[in-house]
């Protein structure tokens, strides 16, 4: 799952070293347009429904946090 996520992220922003970043949102590495496309991508690839209430920095600041969010959503789903 992590590899799948990383490949999505790398397609989206080939210029970012995602595994090294700890504050993707707080430091403004990912901007609003990245988030819009990332969310729709995650929703279709992982069959989840991330909605606007899940858009919190702590859910997107790191790759690990995103994974946690996806797993949580899949379990709930």
């Amino acid at each position: 799952m992590k590899e799948q996520l990383l490949s999505i992220l790398n397609d989206l922003r080939p210029d970012v070293e995602f595994e090294k970043e700890e504050k993707l949102i707080d430091d403004g590495v990912l901007d609003s347009f990245d988030i819009v496309s990332l969310v729709s991508e995650l929703n279709s690839e992982f069959d989840v429904e991330i909605n606007v209430m899940d858009l919190e920095p702590e859910n997107f600041n790191t790759v690990e946090a995103m994974l946690e969010l996806i797993v949580k959503m899949q379990e709930e789903g």
Partner: protein
């Protein structure tokens, strides 16, 4: 008679000394404090520049209210500010500094390090240090006494087709003209609480800053992060009771794309204004559905005529596929549509280039006579005395109801397979499709193909073309489709057509 935008600050500071004028995530400042700080900065700056006036001062900015203190320090010193984002590539900053040859570059503790990578042997002054100066009111009065309303207020950079950014130089008079018009048309008053989205090196922020000051309102600088973590954005709007926003079209689009209002609603918004690129009615209809009481205003205009020259208060329903009017000219602004030779007005109802006359015209491009002469020309309809008009390069036509309709950039109109086609028409049709997030068209003249670049959840060429057939004749179909997870954006958050063209059209 008002000669300076400083009158806005002086008058509001008199009336509402203890009201917050500007606030960001970390700091806030009252009218009285802000005025005192700006005068201190001005005194220090004037001393260092030996009271020379009408000189460019670069302010290396962060998205913080202290940047605004820098701007107003420059204004009180009788000079004009050129905001430059410290996160811009050093090469580009250097190009701007080369163009401006500024009398000083103002830095903060954070932005100072940028200057280490840049060749500049003039004054580098620290905003923090200048703020410590004891105000010399006599000196500032002397500077103010000599000021006239056509003195420059700021220079803002826009991208130049040749790769060298152009510094659009705007006078006090032009901004006063704009801000007075905004108050008059949109009923702004002292209850205004404004949520700023536009970066300070982008002229959309001029409307935020000076409307706040004129009306005695409060402006909150919304952290950039909130435009991606949009639930927070709505919380923020509600917490600060923000009632007025003047945002980029793209910021409104994000809210629609993520269906934010299904979960959270802003409670205080009264006025929502947008500009920067064509607003798809699909996006606007989403906002209107949830916020039926809000006044929505479409604003149009390039930086060269001081932010906006036309406005349209949205006053009737629009179908998703329809185009939104750009409306009518502001008072004290005159528009006409010129033909391809820029010699005559076009016939009523015909498409022509929007040309503007009025106090809103910029003074020109700083230190760039050649580009200035191309766009700021003698009014061809008046050979009798010197009168400058600005030619926007935008094509428009009047609708039957008297509203101006944006058609396209001058260079977007194409002839394809014998048909005259406006690419923006194709764009509007594609943008109206529910599964399309954003789209733009570029014409490949070499291949004679309309190339469509679109952003959606997944590639859907077939479905897209099928749906398009419902709105467009076959000859207007894009001949090549390029799918993007995310379309590239330029610094102003518009789709980066130049980049697309370079990378997908020119071989």
């Amino acid at each position: 008679m008002q000669r300076s935008v400083l009158d806005y600050l002086e008058q509001s500071a008199e009336k509402f000394p203890d009201r917050t004028v500007f606030a960001d995530n970390e700091n806030k400042v009252t009218y009285r404090e802000f005025q005192a700080q700006a005068k201190a900065v001005a005194t220090g700056l004037a001393q260092r520049l030996n009271m020379k006036t009408n000189q460019p001062v670069v302010v290396l900015i962060e998205r913080k209210i202290e940047s605004l203190r820098g701007f107003f320090g420059v204004i009180y010193s009788g000079n004009f500010y050129a905001p430059v984002d410290y996160q811009m590539p050093a090469k580009r900053i250097e190009l701007m500094i080369e163009t401006l040859k500024p009398a000083a570059v103002m830095v903060t503790d954070t932005t100072r390090r940028v200057m280490e990578q840049i060749t500049y042997d003039g004054n580098i002054v620290s905003l923090q240090e200048l703020t410590e100066t004891a105000v010399e009111q006599g000196m500032l009065d002397e500077i103010a006494r000599r000021q006239i309303d056509t003195d420059p207020l700021y220079a803002m950079f826009t991208s130049g087709s040749t790769g060298v950014p152009k510094g659009v130089l705007v006078s006090h008079r032009s901004v006063i003209d704009l801000i007075d018009n905004f108050k008059y048309e949109f009923g702004f008053d002292e209850t205004m609480i404004l949520g700023n989205q536009a970066p300070f090196d982008f002229d959309v922020s001029v409307k935020d800053i000076y409307s706040t000051l004129k009306n005695g309102g409060t402006m909150y600088v919304i952290p950039k992060m909130m435009f991606s973590m949009v639930a927070r954005l709505i919380d923020y709007l509600n917490e600060k009771q923000i009632n007025t926003v003047i945002w980029a079209t793209s910021a409104l689009r994000i809210v629609e794309n993520l269906n934010v209002f299904s979960k959270k609603m802003p409670r205080y918004l009264r006025t929502v204004m947008f500009s920067g690129e064509v607003m798809p009615n699909k996006v606007l209809n989403y906002w209107r559905k949830y916020l039926p009481e809000v006044m929505f205003v479409n604003l149009y205009g390039p930086t060269e005529i001081t932010c906006n020259c036309t406005f349209y208060k949205v006053d009737r329903p629009f179908a998703d596929e329809e185009a939104l009017p750009i409306g009518i000219a502001f008072k004290n602004t005159d528009l006409f549509l010129l033909d391809g030779d820029r010699k005559n007005e076009v016939e009523p109802g015909q498409v022509g280039e929007i040309c503007v006359r009025g106090s809103s015209l910029a003074l020109g491009y700083y230190n760039n006579e050649e580009r200035t002469r191309e766009a700021f020309i003698q009014n061809p309809l008046n050979p009798m005395y010197p009168e400058t008009i600005y030619c926007t390069g935008d094509l428009a036509q009047y609708a039957e109801d008297g509203n101006l309709m944006f058609v396209s950039r001058k260079d977007y109109q194409i002839k394809h397979m014998g048909h005259r086609i406006e690419l923006s028409e194709v764009e509007i049709a594609v943008n109206a499709l529910p599964f399309v997030e954003a789209a733009c068209c570029i014409y490949d003249t070499e291949e004679e193909k309309i190339v469509l670049f679109y952003q959606a959840a997944e590639r859907c060429d077939r479905e897209l073309l099928k749906q398009l057939g419902k709105n467009l004749p076959k000859y207007m179909f894009p001949n090549r489709l390029e799918y993007f997870e995310k379309l590239p954006l330029n610094k102003n958050a518009k789709i980066d057509r130049t980049w697309l063209k370079e990378n997908y059209i020119l071989s």
